[in-house]
């Protein structure tokens, strides 16, 4: 798992370096447009790094104050219950990202006045993956992750 993430990171970085070297736009420059605007494109991004960037969570600080409630082992990847919550002050946004899914960004919840920093839903997981939770509080992003082992994938394949 760790190794796979590392390899993916290397490939992405390599591609970015190539694009930059060839005088093309870097993925970062393209993705920056998504943040704060139309979210639809962010949900179509096919790698973790781009998805995190699109929601403004690149380099988000890891925080022990974010609680992820998800099974350690999911027998059925088609329906994985996930709850993300935090006691942090001033939370405006909670996002759920499934690192290994074909399109990692799963959900972004924007909180209105008085709403608690809690969101619970059920996600599809194609295979064993880190479940990444991102919390925006003030103008900073924080993240936490938990691995969920999937025995039967949830993408109908």
């Amino acid at each position: 798992m760790k190794r796979r993430t590392f390899l993916q990171g290397t490939v992405t970085a390599g591609a970015a370096a190539l694009a930059a070297g060839a005088g093309l736009l870097t993925p970062g420059a393209v993705m920056a447009d998504n943040h704060g605007g139309d979210m639809a494109e962010a949900f179509k991004l096919d790698n973790l790094e781009a998805a995190m960037k699109a929601i403004g969570a690149e380099g988000a600080e890891e925080s022990g104050d974010i609680k992820i409630k998800a099974p350690e082992i999911a027998e059925n990847g088609a329906v994985v219950p996930v709850t993300v919550s935090t006691d942090m002050e001033g939370v405006t946004e909670i996002a759920m990202v499934v690192a290994e899914n074909p399109t990692p960004l799963a959900a972004v919840f924007k909180l209105g006045e008085g709403s608690k920093a809690m969101a619970s839903t059920r996600l599809k997981m194609g295979k064993t993956s880190d479940m990444v939770a991102v919390v925006k509080a003030g103008d900073k992003s924080y993240m936490a992750k938990q691995e969920v082992k999937v025995t039967i994938g949830g993408c109908g394949g």
Partner: protein
């Protein structure tokens, strides 16, 4: 299409629970003839209390079929909760419930 919506107040916090009927197709699956089934998923869900936005959610195709959602919002017994969704094909549905 249908939505089940419940809202219950306890100690000043309103727990909203919803179940929406929707195929939530990822666009990655193939039918038995090998043709890709087009993506079809709820892309936005809005939860309102007395017509004021409490939660605005953007979703991708990773949300499970017939989505479940639970959030905690501000409100009191008798207030109106409304949940509406729109999918990537522009279809939509909504439901209302009184906070109990």
């Amino acid at each position: 299409m249908a939505i089940k919506l419940k809202a219950k107040e306890k100690d000043g916090v309103v727990e909203v629970k919803a179940l929406m009927n929707h195929p939530m197709e990822t666009g990655q699956r193939k039918d038995k003839d090998g043709n890709k089934i087009p993506a079809h998923y709820i892309s936005e869900v809005i939860v309102q209390v007395n017509d004021k936005d409490a939660i605005t959610a953007n979703w991708g195709a990773s949300i499970s079929k017939d989505p479940y959602l639970s959030v905690e919002v501000a409100g009191k017994k008798g207030d109106k909760v409304k949940l509406s969704w729109t999918d990537n094909k522009g279809e939509s549905d909504s439901a209302e419930a009184d906070i109990k």
